[in-house]
């Protein structure tokens, strides 16, 4: 991975963001195992470089549409960890006062138009935000995160087609983690690189190593620059891998059908360890500096977990708030 030529601060920010996502997800899994989290959560461990690299290329006012596996996108946009964790535990102090949960965290103050429980549901919504940005003549861009599975939904193709036809400032980031629950994308799709679909819409499409945060960042930076310049949408496919099952309760027995060492091979590409190693090798930061970041992240996660655990549940009658019809 390339780290030369980057500001040290930017790389350390990437490191901190990725580590925060990793530790947040480990803490979420822990809550699930302890029976403190109701329902399920779809963890982002292993995919941290994608959200971090993409969101690293954004400005404060940009939009994102997120997915059921959305914690990483929110953290990379700087969402409040306390309110996220509280939402995941169904507490009234959560982003949605416990009405959304893990799959539906929304943070309008960060331009996050919602994680989404419907695969591909967020794609036209993010595209509409891009239309709105163009309509209002702002220079905002909109990111639609989606998985390999959603790349086979009609919403993806309908949205990309319109964004291309109307040169909308929208970037479609396909997080190809190989599996739609248990189904291997290679068994249901005839294009090894999902970015080639861009050709059908006459827009740029690029496939990047989704385990390499600077590679993702470079691709996103270029796409964002095009979008801001009025040159329209881009499809970015980031090849990545989720280390856990589809959700916290999925033992992922379907893995390794094509390669016995599939998971181990992908875990060697740990984007966090690899960034740290590359920076150390280039003497860009000291062990002390990394330790400091790691301690800060630990403290942030511990504080978020404590806040969430200690927060109250909403009252039963709160189910009738925020409804108008």
């Amino acid at each position: 991975m390339v780290v030369k030529g980057y500001e040290k601060k930017q790389l350390l920010d990437f490191y901190k963001t990725m580590l925060t996502i990793r530790r947040f997800e480990e803490q979420t899994f822990e809550f699930y195992k302890r029976g403190l989290m109701a329902g399920l959560a779809h963890l982002y461990m292993g995919e941290e470089a994608v959200a971090t690299g993409v969101c690293g290329a954004l400005n404060e006012k940009d939009y994102i549409g997120s997915t059921h596996r959305g914690h990483g996108h929110l953290i990379a946009r700087g969402a409040d960890l306390d309110k996220m964790m509280a939402e995941i535990l169904g507490k009234k102090t959560g982003y949605s006062n416990g009405k959304g949960g893990s799959m539906h965290i929304m943070a309008m103050d960060k331009g996050i138009l919602g994680a989404n429980g419907i695969v591909g549901g967020e794609i036209p919504i993010a595209t509409g935000a891009a239309y709105s940005a163009k309509y209002r003549k702002t220079d905002q861009v909109s990111i639609a995160f989606l998985g390999d599975g959603a790349s086979n939904e009609g919403t993806f193709h309908e949205s990309v087609n319109m964004a291309a036809a109307w040169h909308l400032p929208c970037i479609y980031v396909i997080e190809n983690n190989l599996y739609g629950i248990s189904v291997d994308i290679r068994d249901v799709t005839n294009t090894p690189d999902l970015s080639v679909r861009a050709k059908g819409y006459n827009i740029p499409g690029v496939t990047v190593d989704g385990m390499d945060v600077t590679a993702v960042y470079e691709a996103a930076k270029e796409a964002v620059a095009r979008a801001r310049a009025g040159e329209g949408p881009t499809i970015i496919e980031a090849k990545t891998y989720r280390w856990q099952g589809h959700h916290v309760g999925d033992p992922a027995v379907y893995r390794s059908r094509k390669s016995k060492t599939e998971k181990e091979d992908w875990m060697k590409k740990d984007p966090i360890k690899n960034l740290k190693a590359a920076m150390m090798e280039e003497n860009l930061a000291s062990a002390d500096e990394f330790e400091k970041i790691e301690a800060d992240v630990e403290a942030d996660i511990a504080a978020a977990a404590k806040f969430a655990e200690e927060s109250d549940y909403p009252a039963a009658e709160d189910a009738f708030n925020n409804i108008f019809a």
């Binding site: 909109s142 009609g154 309908e158 949205s159 108008f324």
Partner: protein
């Protein structure tokens, strides 16, 4: 007063709202160059330009979903879905997204979006272009549902819909677009949840929606000549539903007939009937009656289609059964 076509009243309302608020835009199939399949957006493209009046590709899920995204980010989109049947193509965006985002976000986000779409049978359009989706959409919490009757109602309810900060589906009736109505010189917004007493009467309450209001009024005229005095209530919106006006009327008449063009099964008739029975059962002198499309898909042949559609005659006949 003046006389204009129903489609023209809608067109005027759209023009007025777009002139008032630069964040209002229209998107949908054929809304631009040809001014809409039913001519409701005629002239708007020329006046407001191609960003505000957008001809979409045939991608209902895509452009309805884009409407949600626009509504979340400062615009007030009016999305035209060419036939209410096509709402089903966009059902995820309507029901799972548009209706639920405000709730799921704990009130952080508003979705000030209007969907306009026509309902109704009568054009030999067969089973996929003749349905009336209002009862189905009304089932889901988080969507306001307007079912205008006359041209004035269609324009007035549309204005209220667009300025509402929450999503609204306005079901226009495709058999009315080309009919001429008397309207006020200046049509004003009509508040939601306030039913209109279209005709006062004391013998039976007919609660109706959309075109069925006019059909019920026509039936009431005939019945009046036979000494049966019908009160016709135009529900205007079914979400919110003005239960109070219906209940006050039934307390007076003791009889209730609900007329809505959607299928009878799980329909507005069942809903209104149950609401009334719940509250004022002992005021009822007779069972609540319902008229809707029978529970078969709408067939193509006029010989098959017309006998199914709720009509003035059907209302007339049904009311007569109460006074044998």
């Amino acid at each position: 007063m003046r006389k204009i076509k129903y489609a023209k009243a809608i067109n005027e309302a759209l023009d007025k709202i777009m002139a008032e608020d630069e964040n209002v835009m229209v998107i949908g199939e054929d809304v631009g160059f040809i001014g809409g399949n039913f001519k409701c957006t005629e002239g708007l493209l020329e006046k407001y330009g191609d960003m505000r009046v957008k001809d979409s590709p045939i991608s209902e899920q895509g452009f309805v979903g884009m409407g949600v995204g626009m509504a979340l980010t400062g615009l007030r989109p009016i999305v035209e879905v060419m036939f209410s049947d096509f709402l089903l193509v966009a059902a995820d965006q309507v029901i799972n997204q548009m209706a639920k985002i405000t709730y799921m976000s704990g009130g952080q986000a508003k979705v000030p979006m209007t969907i306009r779409c026509p309902i109704g049978a009568g054009r030999s359009s067969a089973a996929q272009h003749s349905q009336s989706m209002q009862a189905m959409i009304a089932h889901f919490p988080g969507i306001k549902v307007a079912v205008p009757s006359t041209a004035q109602e269609a324009a007035g309810l549309l204005m209220t819909a667009v300025y509402d900060d929450n999503p609204v589906v306005v079901f226009e009736h495709k058999m009315e677009y080309n009919k001429t109505f008397e309207v006020d010189d200046v049509i004003k917004p009509i508040p939601f949840g306030k039913a209109r007493i279209a005709r006062e009467g004391k013998d039976i309450t007919i609660a109706a929606t959309s075109s069925m209001v006019m059909k019920s009024e026509a039936a009431a005229e005939r019945l009046a000549k036979e000494g049966i005095d019908c009160e016709v209530i135009d529900l205007r919106t079914i979400v919110p539903l003005d239960k109070d006006t219906i209940i006050e009327s039934v307390k007076k008449t003791g009889r209730l007939l609900v007329v809505d063009e959607a299928h009878e099964r799980c329909g507005i008739g069942a809903e209104v009937g149950a609401a009334v029975a719940d509250d004022i059962f002992y005021y009822l002198d007779a069972p609540v009656g319902r008229i809707g499309n029978p529970d078969v898909p709408l067939p193509f042949s006029p010989a098959l289609e017309f006998p199914l559609i709720p009509s003035e005659d059907k209302v007339y006949e049904k009311v007569k059964t109460y006074f044998k």
